[in-house]
């Protein structure tokens, strides 16, 4: 029986942004406080799963036209590239660099190449979780 599901769809539209921006916060806070790429990726994937529950698998694929397998590949390339970059400068594998920069709005900020590695982990976790859920959900 087809019923109206206005309430869950409207709530999902609002709550999706709350969960997604909280995931971004967890991702960027990972260096100094608990959090990081893995948890941020899982929270982002759960936000997308909330949209899938409230709407439809096809609808969400048209809203977010992402091929999650390519996302996994991009994350792996990013993580490996960050780790291998130090080999070209004569340092051992996985040597990270950081420095302090004066950014226009943020002021004095320390930028670290470990954040790029974490971004790779984030992309891999989101991609793997969404690939699993889409593959199970598409079976009819």
């Amino acid at each position: 029986m087809k019923t109206n599901d206005v309430i869950i769809q409207f709530t999902a539209k609002i709550v999706f942004f709350m969960i997604f921006f909280y995931a971004v916060h967890i991702f960027f806070a990972g260096h100094y406080t608990p959090g990081g790429g893995f948890v941020g990726g899982l929270v982002t994937a759960s936000a997308i799963v909330l949209l899938i529950v409230a709407f439809d698998l096809k609808t969400v694929q048209t809203i977010l036209p992402i091929n999650y397998i390519y996302m996994v590949a991009c994350g792996l390339i990013l993580a490996l590239g960050t780790a291998a970059f130090s080999m070209f400068t004569g340092k051992p594998f996985f040597t990270h660099f950081f420095d302090y920069f004066n950014l226009p709005i943020l002021g004095k900020t320390s930028l670290h190449t470990a954040a790029l590695f974490d971004l790779g982990v984030y992309l891999v976790v989101v991609g793997v979780t969404m690939t699993i859920i889409q593959t199970i959900g598409e079976d009819e």
Partner: protein, 122 residues
């Protein structure tokens, strides 16, 4: 100042605990699914929100650490707790869970029969 802050914190946490205990007793004592959902969703949402506010005021006033994540958690619970109870009650009504025998009014039954007639089911 510390005494006032502590009174505020203790008030919020004790109020939250009382609401959570009332929710647990309601789930045990009430007769059917819908009254239990009423007790569990409303009272426990308010209880957890009160406890989170108490924790927020403790860290803000006593430890000088303003943590907006807790306020975001309060807002999130306020939005999602009742919606979850609504979805569970509605799906269990459509799945055929009967209300308590003393129920005198059932508006959703008429509406569902009308929708079934419009969509030619059964």
């Amino acid at each position: 100042m510390t005494i006032l802050a502590n009174i505020l914190v203790i008030f919020f946490i004790v109020a939250g605990l009382v609401f959570l205990a009332v929710a647990a007793i309601g789930v045990l004592r009430l007769p059917d699914l819908y009254t239990r959902a009423h007790a569990a969703s409303k009272s426990s949402t308010l209880g957890v929100m009160c406890i989170l506010l108490g924790v927020f005021f403790h860290f803000w006033l006593n430890e000088n650490h303003f943590n907006p994540t807790i306020l975001l958690g309060v807002l999130f619970l306020f939005i999602t707790g009742p919606v979850g109870a609504h979805i569970m009650s509605r799906s269990s009504y459509i799945a055929g869970v009967k209300p308590w025998s003393g129920t005198v009014r059932d508006d959703l039954k008429l509406e569902i029969e009308r929708m079934k007639k419009e969509q030619n089911i059964k």
